[in-house]
Structure formats: structure tokens, C-alpha cells
Symmetry: C2
Subunit: 780 residues, 2 copies
């Protein structure tokens, strides 16, 4: 045994999930022909289901010399990734290239048809994702609406109908079929009526969130929260099993309907990205191209998150840009086009489903008829500043609450917390019109021009009571901010998009009303000279619209996506420039406090292994300062290890993989083998009955006798592990600067890099160690 037995590396140590590995047994006595074929196919980088592992006698080894040199360039076969590990983008791309190469080489008719199918797979997949996500979004929208309405009463013609459908065809507020709870319980006393309605309102809300919280805790803990930070981490190349599974999907959909319907200060829009990604992940299982390739899967997930935003806001282009700007890590042009298609299909599906029977996908349709004036620009910039400040403030406060929730006694009582938050929210909201209506209704009313509002909404347009309106808006604003800070992060599915829009719209409307007052009281001021005296000059609805964009920009720090989403939300393009200005200012102001968006802050807090490509690091360190030195690595010699030795190493050390060297004295690097692959091979061998644990393994091109092992007279058996080796791992020299290596990790998507000096192994640096080092840099 030449193996070094030290340990420093601290990777996750879950054992390989063997259920995902084809469990085909292999014969001890393969015919030579099969052997050669299997070898010849071994550079496809995929797991062929037979002849994965083979043991053969010395006489067969000589034939191996005939293997074309080319086969030494394989990146090694690979089995599925373990949970909580980072993926190796580069290997997966290589695997996919090999697969396509193989498909391309099939010249038969069947092969050609398969080639066409193969080329279409991704398009079919993203269309499927779009359709399913669209259907789910419609379901969530309808059921959340129903729960929201049922809090106030029920429909006599069918309990499953929400107020809108119950009253379909009845003009105005006349609706005989819709019965308030006080009427249902036959209460006539005016005060009691109020009490009963309040009680039912609160009771149903609490019941809904209780169910949501319970279901989440019991069946799918991953479905709580927004999901976007985790999706970002997964798209960045991390494996979190079950996060995108069927259970999570179901619970997310149900929980989302319940928490949004209950009237919590949460949106359903952000979590739809998570829903989309679950759909993406589940649909991908139908297509081999994506199911067996974690990097390709992430391309599909990027498209899925575009579909999520697309159906959330009816904003297909906004969805694509959201996927690009916020969640995706690797976003080549192909993914752009697929996201485009996926978002398109989702929006089309939603439009055809027409869940709101409005015939529109646009959520807050407005039609601003007036153009903006130059004198308004400073006010827009002011809104941008306020939005940026709000974003920074919200992130800071919410992080404090989240930390409290995560690290104090509170963490033991998630359901109780949800209950209390709902109770308080419901009681407060019941008294305020601005808070009682659903947030989309609130925003939609705040965006509108007074001339467009059907009935006066909370006195927004009554000039006579302008002071009290402003006061009410201010109170609603403060309450909304507090509720949002405490609500975002509780253990039910909950998004932050719409609450941010609501806060911003409230701010904007207040500013807009004040501006309008000023202009109307001093119409002769020189700054208002561009106003046409016959027409209303200042439109408070526009300020609400721009304020909403500013707040969303401040919280999420997106620019292009925020702008486009705002347009698609309202269907109005006349305010492109003001919105762009505001969003840019809001981002700058927010970034001046902290560069992290709410999602990045959550990623940091949860210490997800996410390599943020937006962040710059400054360091003079070189790789040899932070790498795991060769003395602390477990290295495998190319020849000389028995199956038992490998079994022992695997059981003793949790490392994700092992460098292979010619021998433990020279330590000339030969390749790298992943833990999962080694585990899989050894498991297969050990499944064979009566296997001899002293069978020697070899990882090298040279036949074992070159090393003086294996007496040609004895039919000694060897285990050939070469197909599982990555014989061209990325290597660097120890004097590379860390920041230069960081670029490699970011751009190539490495999982680890091997450090050699003149061919000799001197160390290894993996992504997690690099991230750990970078986090120390950041705290400095």
C-alpha cells in the first residue's frame, strides 16, 4: 500500500445515491470481442448499461495495446452527482458533445430520424414546460382568488365559485348569489355582523396558512419561501436533490394558493419561478438528453424560470430577461432562444386558458394618455432614490428577521409563527381598504388615472379629502412595509415581487398626489411652463407606476428585467425613459449600501455554494496558498491497489474524488477519478459472487506487467478502471493567482482544478475551498 492516508478536505460526505445507477451485473468471463467493443465505445462519456466494469486476465490485456490513442482523451465516464455537491459543467458539456457526436455518426434511416428527434428534443421540452407552467399558474391564480373571496363570504350557486364568477353577468355591485358570512349565519345585529365577518375573515386566513405551513413542514420543506435563491444556486451548478421534485411542486402550488389567498403580504409571482423549475426538472426526465446531463438540465431550468416569470406577470420578454439577469448562471444564446420559446408558450397557454376571463395576459392594464414633462424627471429620480433606499432598508431588516427566525428559539415553532403573522395581518388588513383588497387590486388601482377608475378607490381621487387620503396611504405604506419585512421568509411559499411593487406604488402615489397638488396650486411657476393649461398635467398613477418600478429595482437590483416587466405588466410603453432612469438610480442607491439583492443576501445567509459571477474579488494570494497540498490528499497509484484497498479508502475518506498518479514516489499526474464513479465500479464488482478482493486495479495505459506486476504465466485478473478516469483534468501551476483561477472556475464551470508542477501533482483546489477562501476575503 503506497496510499497516503491524511485528511483535510471537508466535502459533503453523503454516499452515492445508488438508486439512480443502472444495476446491471457484468460477467467475469466476457468474450474478447465484447471486451474490445465495450472499450471502443468507452469514449462516449456516458454510462453504457452493459460491460461497465470488467475484470479480465492478463492475456486479454495485451489486446488493449491496440486501442487507438484517441481513447486516452476521454474525460471519464461519470455516474449521477451526489446530493449537495457541485456539478462539473465542463465534463457534462464534453459528455453531451460526445453523445451528439455519436448520434451524428448514425447513418441509417432510423439514425437520421433519431437525429431529427434529438435536435428537436430541447424545443419540445421547453414547449412542454411552458404549457405545464401556464396551466399550473392558472390553477394557482384561480384557487388563490377563491380562497381570498371565501374569507368574506360564499357563493350560493356553488361553493367552488369565487365572487367574480359567482356574480358573472351581474352588473356593478349587485350580486344576489354572493352571501356574506354574517348573512349565512343569519345575524342581523349590525355590530355582531362586523364581528362575525371579521372572525370568519381571520379564521379562514389562519386556517389556510396553518394548512399551508403544516403541509410544507410535513411533506416538502423545500417548498417554503420564494425558492429563487435556491434556484439560483442550483443553476449555478449545485445539486440539491428533491428541491425540484414532484412533492415540492405539488406543495408549492397548494401552499402558494393558500398563503396568497389568506391575504398575507406575499406574492405568488416569485415562487412561480420555483414552480417553473420544478416543472422543468420533472419534464426533463422524459428526455434522455437532459435527464442524464446536469449541465444541460440547467439550460432547461433557465428556460423554465423564464416561463415562470412569464406566466406570473403575463410578461414573456420580462421572463426571458429575468432568467438572464437574475437567476441564470450559464446563459448561452441557445438558452436565450429556448427561454424565449418557453416563456412564449407559457404566456400563450395562460392566454388561452384565460383564467380571469379578461382576455388579457396583462395584469395591471393601464393606458396613460399623457406624455411626461422634463420637470418631472427630477421627481422620477427622487422616486428612484427612495426606491433604492427602501430596497436597502428592506433587505437589511428582513435579513435581521430571517436570522432571528433561523438562529433563535423561534425556529422551533414555524407553524405557530405563520399562525401569529396571519392573525395579525388579517386583523390589521380587515380595517383598511388599501390592505384588505388583494395586492394586485391595490396596485392596479394605484396605477390608474382617476378618469379610469370605475368607482373611487378609497378616496384616491376625491379632491376634497386629499389630506386624509394621503394620511391613509401613508399608514397603509408603513403597515405594508412592516408586514412584508416580517412575512417574507416564513415557512410557507411566499414571494417578494408583488409586495415590493405595492410598497413602491404606495410611495409613488403619495408623491404623485403631492406633485399634482403643487402643480395645481402654482400652475404659473416657470417649471410648469410646459404644461398645457387645459389638460391635467401631473398624473399620480404614473408616479405610482414609476415608484413600483423603483422599489422592485431596489429590492431585486435588476434593471433591464424590471423595466421590461413593468411594461408588460401595464401594456404601456410611453414611459420607457422615465422608468429606465428611475430603475438605474434605484439600483445605484441600493448598491451604494450593499451590492447584494435580496436573493443574493439570502444565498449568503444560507451559505449556499454559489460563485457569484457579478462579484469582483481582490487578492494577491496564489493558488499554493489556498490549495489542499498533496500531502493532505488521498492519491491513488496507477497500479498496485486491490479492490479491498479501494473499498477501504472509500469507506475511510469522504472526498469527492481522487487524483491518480503513476506511483506515490514520483507522483506524476495521470488523471482524476470521482468518488461516485469509483464507488459505482467497486459496488458492481462486489455484487459479483465470490469476487476476490485482492484483484488488482489499474488506471494506466501501460499494461500492469510494465510495472513488474502480474506474472504472465498466471492467469491473474485485473480490474480496468481506465474508462472512469478523466485523463485530461484541468491543471495549473501553483504560482497562478487565485483571481486568475477564479476566472477559470467561473467561466469554465470547474468543480476542481489540479495543481501540478512539471507533471508532478502538488495539490488540488476545489470549488468549495475556493468559496470558503473568497468568503474570508469578503468579510475582510
Amino acid at each position: 500500500m503506497h496510499i497516503k492516508i491524511n485528511s483535510i478536505d471537508t466535502n459533503f460526505s453523503t454516499l452515492s445515491d445508488s438508486s439512480s445507477i443502472p444495476k446491471q451485473k457484468t460477467d467475469l468471463n466476457n468474450s474478447e470481442l465484447n471486451e474490445t467493443n465495450s472499450r471502443r465505445n468507452s469514449n462516449d462519456g456516458t454510462i453504457s448499461t452493459n460491460k461497465n466494469v470488467s475484470i479480465y486476465g492478463y492475456d486479454q490485456i495485451k489486446h488493449k495495446k491496440r486501442i487507438r490513442k484517441r481513447e486516452s482523451t476521454v474525460s471519464g465516464k461519470r455516474v449521477a452527482y451526489e446530493n449537495f455537491t457541485t456539478i462539473d459543467w465542463n465534463h457534462d458539456f464534453a459528455k453531451d458533445r460526445n453523445r451528439r457526436n455519436k448520434v451524428k455518426k448514425r447513418k441509417s434511416l432510423k439514425g437520421r430520424i433519431y437525429l431529427i428527434y434529438d435536435a428537436c428534443q430541447s424545443w419540445i421540452l421547453v414547449i412542454l414546460i411552458g404549457i405545464v407552467t401556464g396551466l399550473l399558474a392558472a390553477f394557482i391564480a384561480i384557487s388563490a382568488d377563491w380562497i381570498s373571496d371565501i374569507k368574506e363570504g360564499h357563493c350560493k350557486s356553488g361553493f367552488y365559485l369565487n365572487r367574480k364568477f359567482c356574480c358573472w353577468g351581474n352588473p356593478g355591485y349587485q350580486c344576489p348569489d354572493w352571501e356574506k358570512w354574517s348573512d349565512f349565519f343569519n345575524i342581523h345585529h349590525q355590530f355582531l355582523k362586523g364581528i362575525v365577518n371579521l372572525f370568519m375573515y381571520t379564521f379562514i386566513a389562519c386556517l389556510a396558512t396553518f394548512i399551508a405551513a403544516y403541509l410544507v413542514r410535513e411533506f416538502a420543506p423545500y417548498s417554503a419561501g420564494s425558492g429563487i435563491p435556491e434556484v439560483k444556486t442550483i443553476l449555478g451548478g449545485f445539486v440539491i436533490k428533491k428541491f425540484l421534485g414532484m412533492r415540492t411542486l405539488i406543495m408549492k402550488c397548494i401552499g402558494l394558493s393558500l398563503s396568497v389567498g389568506a391575504g398575507l403580504s406575499v406574492g405568488k409571482e416569485g415562487p412561480l419561478v420555483h414552480v417553473g423549475c420544478c416543472v422543468g426538472n420533472l419534464c426533463s426526465r422524459l428526455f434522455s438528453k437532459f435527464n442524464n446531463n446536469s449541465a444541460r438540465l440547467r439550460e432547461a431550468l433557465s428556460a423554465a424560470s423564464a416561463a415562470g416569470v412569464s406566466v406570473a406577470f403575463g410578461a414573456p420578454i420580462g421572463g426571458v430577461l429575468f432568467s438572464l439577469e437574475e437567476v441564470s448562471y450559464y446563459f448561452p444564446m441557445k438558452t436565450l432562444w429556448r427561454s424565449f420559446l418557453s416563456a412564449l408558450t407559457g404566456a400563450l397557454t395562460l392566454q388561452l386558458m384565460n383564467p380571469f376571463r379578461s382576455g388579457k395576459v396583462v395584469l395591471f392594464q393601464v393606458a396613460y394618455t399623457r406624455i411626461w414633462h422634463i420637470f418631472e424627471l427630477p421627481i422620477y429620480i427622487l422616486l428612484g432614490i427612495i426606491g433604492g433606499l427602501y430596497g436597502a432598508f428592506f433587505i437589511k431588516m428582513n435579513m435581521k428577521v430571517v436570522k432571528l427566525r433561523k438562529f433563535s428559539w423561534l425556529k422551533k415553532y414555524p407553524i405557530q409563527e405563520v399562525f401569529v403573522v396571519t392573525l395579525i395581518t388579517s386583523i390589521i388588513s380587515y380595517g383598511f381598504l388599501f390592505l384588505r383588497v388583494s395586492m394586485t387590486q391595490l396596485i392596479s388601482n394605484l396605477f390608474r388615472e382617476c378618469s379610469e377608475l370605475e368607482s373611487d378607490f378609497g378616496g384616491l381621487c376625491k379632491k376634497t379629502q386629499i389630506k386624509s387620503t394621503i394620511f391613509m396611504l401613508l399608514i397603509a405604506l408603513v403597515l405594508k412595509i412592516i408586514m412584508t419585512i416580517f412575512t417574507f421568509g416564513i415557512r410557507v411559499p411566499a414571494g417578494i415581487f408583488v409586495p415590493s411593487l405595492a410598497v413602491g406604488a404606495l410611495i409613488g402615489r403619495i408623491v404623485g398626489i403631492l406633485m399634482q397638488l403643487w402643480q395645481e396650486s402654482h400652475p404659473d411657476l416657470w417649471i410648469f411652463s410646459s404644461c398645457n393649461p387645459d389638460v391635467q398635467c401631473v398624473t399620480p398613477g404614473v408616479y405610482a407606476f414609476i415608484g413600483a418600478a423603483a422599489a422592485l429595482g431596489g429590492v431585486t437590483r435588476m434593471t433591464v428585467s424590471t423595466t421590461v416587466i413593468m411594461f408588460e405588466l401595464t401594456g404601456s410603453l410611453s414611459y420607457v425613459l422615465p422608468v429606465m432612469v428611475t430603475v438605474m438610480v434605484s439600483k445605484w442607491i441600493g448598491d451604494a449600501f450593499d451590492k447584494d439583492s435580496i436573493y443574493d443576501a439570502l444565498i449568503d445567509l444560507n451559505q449556499y455554494p454559489f460563485l457569484d459571477s457579478k462579484r469582483d474579488y481582490y487578492s494577491d494570494a496564489i493558488v499554493s496558498d489556498i490549495m489542499t497540498k498533496v500531502d493532505n490528499l488521498i492519491v491513488l497509484p496507477a497500479i498496485g491497489l486491490t479492490i479491498n484497498d479501494i473499498e477501504n479508502i472509500l469507506q475511510e475518506y469522504p472526498f469527492q474524488g481522487f487524483p491518480i498518479v503513476n506511483n506515490t514516489y514520483d507522483k506524476l499526474l495521470i488523471g482524476y477519478i470521482g468518488r461516485s464513479e469509483l464507488r459505482y465500479t467497486i459496488d458492481q464488482i462486489e455484487d459479483i459472487e465470490n469476487v476476490d478482493g485482492t484483484i488488482q486495479c489499474y488506471f494506466t495505459k501501460k499494461s500492469p506487467d510494465a510495472y513488474g506486476i502480474g506474472d504472465p504465466n498466471q492467469q491473474q485478473k485485473f480490474l480496468d478502471l481506465r474508462p472512469w478516469i478523466d485523463s485530461t483534468p484541468y491543471t495549473i501551476t501553483p504560482n497562478y493567482k487565485v483571481v486568475k483561477v477564479l476566472e477559470l472556475f467561473k467561466k469554465i464551470g470547474l468543480r476542481h482544478v489540479i495543481i501540478v508542477r512539471r507533471g508532478k501533482l502538488v495539490g488540488l483546489l476545489n470549488k468549495k475551498d475556493l468559496l470558503r477562501y473568497l468568503s474570508t476575503l469578503k468579510t475582510e
Copy 2:
């Protein structure tokens, strides 16, 4: 002399542009203190203006051993890139990181202020780019308008006024100040009038394009054509000097006004990207951060191209997406935000300038009042198919014409060709209303609903003469296609955006009118059941709009950008989904014929060294198959070369750089030095009077005496070239697959990669050789 003297590499061999290098002389007798300081600062990767090169005696070398180990990790100092070479992204990023690192370390007040300025530099730059591009776009628009109008007549109240401004304030077509040429020449005979007007129309057009072509040929040949393929190549990391210079900018602006004003079938929108990039390049010279760093410069150019499209169409978001989807090679988030700001500033400037006095940036304002019906979707898809086919056809035909122009006798007569094309175009256009009006007017009229049209445009809305209208549209379509095919590529500034939109709009309007006819003649068909009988069901203007998107998509193969540009062009968001469907279909159909967009096709034709990140290659080859083998490389030994030797090597071999090895027997790789750097150093030394050509140079950490050279008793002098070496070049082993290396080139932006086996140099692969190999793959 141990130097290998073979040659295979065939890089461009222009000598270094020494004008861009600070020509500071250095003393032969530096004080030791200065020496050490200069050494200590040597890892900044930039050219410090003093003590760049130094020769010192042996006694000083010992002190060098005290140099911290860290300094061996520099990527080497670098001087400016030579013309027609590819840039080394990675080195430039490292250089920038070092620069920022240095700035961050300055703790004085001045340092802090500089830090803030440094952080703002890029924002200031992109704002500046936006403003200047906006101003230039306004200038081009106004002057093209004027030339276009002057063809038909002149303004009596001022020859510099175009028709619109001349007639400002006059209602309808009443305009006493505007005088037709026939009136100017006092001609009364009806037939002669027509002849004179036609003559003047043709004469002024030909004169304008003649001037344009002459100016282009004489002063700035690079200003011809669209410029987008070259901009793409430059952004992909290639150096084409003067392509973005002041002369090119001026000639492009003047030529563009002339060629567009002359009524050629060209647009000014695409070339505005080139204008934007020229502005970007020139403005960057004001900021050291960008001026000295080719990779950072490209980030600014990405933002500039966004500003270009933004001001071209009044489409700021479309501009950002165009930059992302079509022209940019490296587009990190930072660039996205900067492009956003640049596009925003450009559009704001244009709006404030208000060159058309319409108060809008929207070019073809439409307000479609009706929603689309499901039965229209197949027709939209059909339009997508037609658009895709047109795109493929146009690219194929235009390439044939371009090839003819480039490789036949025609290439000797560019000005004559322009003249002939203009002559034919003018004569044909004069007779047809659809072709005679400017293309933007044509498109704008085709997009409009009949109810919106001020006066009936060419009988578009006359139900009585529908057949002749369709016939006229068809003829206009055919002529437009032919003219565009022959025009795009002539030696005047010319874009392809607007001609594509015009062709598409013509196709769409024809289909729309036919569709409307069908629906109106069979209103009871089941497919039309969703139509409201009281309202017009089919809007031909919408079909024109969608057809235009399809044709633009077919020619440029953009999806998201096309969609967004179309919305921003028209200010109408109600048709998001149909446009998305159409654009996607158009792209698919076009791609089915050839994956190349018009710009990619031009890049291929001109054999620009552009590594298309969208294209996939399949190859089993490994690096050792295509690399330049060590025997064919000029390698420099770390010690033993005299200044005269290096001078000889530089004069004899045109290679872009030289690997440095410990000695020419072992060939252990020590680093890499670029040609320009070596040239610069040697030039500096040779400027020193009485320099001894036999002075030894060394590239290694070890002092020369370790190699047995340099007698300590003699005060022998050495030239230290270490600061100029990249001591951590990217290295790979020879068994890497080419496709894996390709990823490195694409993602890291390498210029070359060095191939080593166990520390020993075995070869080198540079970007151009790789591109050459890839082009053979493609033709297979």
C-alpha cells in the same frame, strides 16, 4: 546560440506601432534603490513610464533574490496590441484587476477621491457615449431628411430647411415656401416639368452617392457598409486599427446622410451601431481605465452599440438586447447595466433634441385598438415562414453579389458601381409612390390601420381598387427585394435593418389585405366565429407589422431583440405573443437553410477571425494533431541570448510571441513573452547610446551565475526581461480534445495556449490556427 530557427506560424507581421509606446529613456546606471522600487511595482501589469527596461551589473542581481516570491506570478507587462491581432482577454482582465487592486490600496484622501472617480469612470463614459451618439443620430436624421427632400425641390425661405420645417405651421399640403425644381427652373410645359423633376431627382441622388463613395474611398474605406460584422469581430477580440477612428466616424456620418438621403435601398439604423462604437472608442481615450485595456474597451463598445441601436430606432431596451444577442461576445452583467445606461442616455438625448419635432422617440407610432384572434395565429406562422424563407434567400443572393463585387473586375470600380446602382434605383423609384417615399414613411404607412391614415396612401385603403393595390404592392415588393440585394454591400455606408422591415411590411400588408378580403367575403365561416360582426375583424396593418418582424428575424436571426425593437418602434404591446411566435418560426425556417445571419455570413466571407460562441463543432481530433509542434516554434532559452540575438529573431520571425524555456535541450517551460513586449524592450535598450549588443538577457528567476554564466569578478551586464514575461500562461497537455480546448478559447478568451507534457514544452496553439482548423471542419 541555442535558438531553434524554424518557421511555420503565419501570423500577421506588422511591426509594433511604436507611436503608442511611451518613449522614455532609461539610465544605464540606476541607483539600487530605484531599481528595487521599480521591481516592486513590476507586478502591476501596466507600463510604468520610467525604469521600464534596465540593464545592470552582476552585483545588483543578488539583490533580486530578495524580491518576494509573489512577483513571479505576474502575467507580464504588455504594450499595445498590433493591428490585425487577437487580444488576450485574460491578460487584460488580470491587468485591470491589478490596476484596481493598486487603486484600492491607496489610503490617502487623494487616493480615496481617485477611487470614487475610478468607480464612476465607466458610468461617466457610457453616459458620454450615449449623449454623443444621440447628437450624431439627430444630425444624420436631419441631414438625410434634407437631402431626401432637396431631390424634389427646395425651400425658398432657406435652402437648409427640409420640407417639413419649411412648411412648418402650414396645414395639409399647402406650402407656398416649398418650390419644386420644375418651378424653380420656371418650366410650364407639363411633360417637361416631369422630365426636369425626374432629372433633378436622379441627378441629386447620384451626386450625393458619388460624393459619399468618393469620400469613403479617399478618406475612410472602413466606413463603407454596415460595419456590424466588423464590430462583432472587434468585440470578439480582434484588433482592426482605424476601424473605430475619428475619420471613419466623420465619413460614416456624412456618407450615411448622403446614401440614405439619396434614396438608396439602405437604412441608417445598422450603421449607427458602427457610429456608436466609433464614439465609444474615441470617448474611451479620455479614460485611462479603458484606453489602456483592450478587454475593458470592448465592454465600453458593447454599451456603445446598444446606444447605437437605441438612437437608431428610439428603442433603448431593444438596443441593449441587440448588443447582447447579436454583436457582443463577452457580455457580463456589468456590461448589461452599462449598456442599459448608455442606451437610455442616447434615447433621452434624442428625445430632448427632438429632431423630428414630434416629441416622440417612437419611429412608427401605431395604436392598434383591436385584439388578435386565434384563427389569425396560423397566418402569423405563415408570415414567419415567409420571413424565414426571405431571410435565407436574401442572404444567399446577397452573398453571391458581394462575392462578385469582391472577386470580379467589378471590385476596381466601386464608385462607378455606386453611381449605376443609384441611377437605376432613382429612376425606378421615381415612378412608384411606394418606393419614392422614404422607407420609414413607407413602413409607417403600411403599419397603420386605414382609419389612422391621414390621406389614402397609394390606394391602400380603397376597397374599390383592391386588385390594383395588391398588384402595385407586389411589384414594389419584387423591386425592393432586387434593389436591396444589389445595394447592400456597395461602398457607401448602408444598413440592412430598414430595407428588411420594408420588405416584410410589404409582404405582410399583401397577406393582410388578402386575409381581410377573405374574412369579409365569408364572414360566416366557422373559423371567423370569434369576430365581432360590428367591428372590423382583420387589421392589415398588424400583418404588415408582423411581416416586418418576420423579415427582420429572418435576415438577422435575432429573436428577443427583434421582438423588443418592434414594440419600441411602434409603441404597441398588444401583439407581443403573435410577434414572438412569428419571430421564432422565422428563425427556425431561416436556420434550417443556413445557421448564419447576414452578419455571420459576411464575417465568414471576409474570413474575419471570429470565434462564434453560438456555433458547435464536432471533432475527435486532439490538440497534438493541430498544434504547432515545438520543433517548428521559436523558443527562447531563459539565459544565453544577447540583445543582438533577440534583435535577429525579431527581424527574422513574424510570430506574435515566443515561449521561454529553461534551455533548448530540456525545454522546460518558464513562461511566454509577446512579440510587442520584446520589441518594445529591445527598442528602448537600443535607443541608449553605445549600448553593447552582446549584453546578455535573462528571463528566469535564478541569477545568471546559476547557469555558469557571468563571472562575478567581471562587472558583466545583464538585461532583465522578467517583468515582461507571462509566467503563468495557460497550459494544457497534448491529449486534450480540440473541442475542449475550444471551450477554453471561447470562454476564457485566450489568444494562445501552450502545450506541455510534464512541464516540457511540446507545442503551441494560437487562436488563428484553431480558427483555420475549425473552418476546415465546417466545410466538411
